[in-house]
Symmetry: C2
Subunit: 313 residues, 2 copies
Amino acid sequence: MSDPIFERIAIIGAGLIGSSIARAATAYGAAGSVSLYDASDDVRARAAGLDIGEVAGTLADAVKDADCVILCVPVGALAPVAQAAVPHMKEGAILSDVGSVKKQAAEALASADDGRVFIIPGHPVAGTEQSGPEAGFPTLFRNAWYILTPQSGKGEAYDAAADRLKAFWVVLGSKVETMDPARHDRVLAITSHLPHLIAFNIVSTAFDMETVEEGEVVKFSAGGFRDFTRIAASDPVMWRDVFLNNKEAVLECLGRFSEDLAALQRAIRWGDGDFLMHEFSRARTIRKAVIDAGQDSGAVNFGRNQNGAKPDA
Amino acid sequence: MSDPIFERIAIIGAGLIGSSIARAATAYGAAGSVSLYDASDDVRARAAGLDIGEVAGTLADAVKDADCVILCVPVGALAPVAQAAVPHMKEGAILSDVGSVKKQAAEALASADDGRVFIIPGHPVAGTEQSGPEAGFPTLFRNAWYILTPQSGKGEAYDAAADRLKAFWVVLGSKVETMDPARHDRVLAITSHLPHLIAFNIVSTAFDMETVEEGEVVKFSAGGFRDFTRIAASDPVMWRDVFLNNKEAVLECLGRFSEDLAALQRAIRWGDGDFLMHEFSRARTIRKAVIDAGQDSGAVNFGRNQNGAKPDA
């Protein structure tokens, strides 16, 4: 193991992602020490029992000696937490986050900028449908993308800080990509936000049908529906904030999705088998591209635990 | 191993399901011998190389000595295949199918009824996104539901034949349920048909966005989208026939789904976080029910291979 990238990191928010970073930073030697803080007394107490880092009693205590502070809270909470953290941070330390929406995240972090710290937003594209400090594991980020959305034209010291943050995620096993925040939000809207919204929605529709069909929906869920219930079991607060903060890109994708669905609906109603065949066959093409990309890069973590099995397998 | 349920079965259509039944019937001793036929010369040749049964050169040869003939072809092909098979079947043999839509399947099989055979439609609720004789495996039906939709009031001999068919699937490892065809079609519309349609649709929408976003959709598909591409990789012909033949129930579910999605869309546009939280939290409730049901019954096979891992894991 080589020297740690950071002497000490602070993780604010000890949920699935935060506790996984804490575990990974220690396991792969990316940080000399890890401090953790969570606004919830209950989560702090649970985290303290897990041996994943030093659980601090206050936010100020957690961040004061850290070279890098990573906020692992829902996007809607980023601004107040950043504003509370920055005054206690060391000069020259890095402030980052893990939010799934980068334009809003960048603005939220920037609202706390006092010119003493380097503000570098980022997003590890990894997760499971589990929540809480117990759900984390150190291999969560291995072979997953980590998207850095740094500010430009901030000077050499800033760029050097961004390089250190990149190096940290590389040690955690991630493949790092740099991207413009707006582009990140558009790409994630279609690859992640829309799929989650659709999963939430179909589960909700089925929930009502469950009453109509007297329990048979759950009983026969193995026919395809079950996969959606897994995706839809993800943290509601996190996802509420994603949709509220990536409104434009999500509504754009949703518009396209609804148009396309209306076309399928019309084809079913009018018995247009050729149209259905054409659309369904296209889906295989993109599946092949996804598999090829996955085989080249090994880029899959979503929804799997350390053994590569789905949690309910 | 006890005595086989059937001396000889015939499998017509040697794809994922047909070849899995052939393998399972032999592996678990449910049939004394297995004959196979597929309308495609190519599939017949491939099946012949797999040692999964005696591959016959004609449909008539495949069915002539069988006590039970199971048609494993798309729903749209059931009527002509049944009509071609029945005249060559033994008196008192069973004619069944594996179609995902039971009202139309029952009518298709009934169109071949000459009063000499027992027509008993059925549906194993199991599968993967793979197709072809190579994709089958003997454990596909273990712990999965098998839904029998027998005709009623057909007399004692018919009921005895239905009991034998049930026993066959029990030996294959399935949990057998008897259901009215119309109810089967409504329940499967929400648990299976709608989820597949939605998966096909989101992949189609993303396919177009892929051009807009220059390859980034596939690249970052691990954020949730990837799960949909797997479901959407299922056989296009099979699914075209499902939607064309379960039109009413699918359109009913689709109407509900679109209404619910419009409500989510409106909440996103107007920033109604409380509504989103309420809907997303409901999804966790049904997920818990699905997991509980799965743990009680072990009822999951969809999308997993013999080792319980997803094929792309």
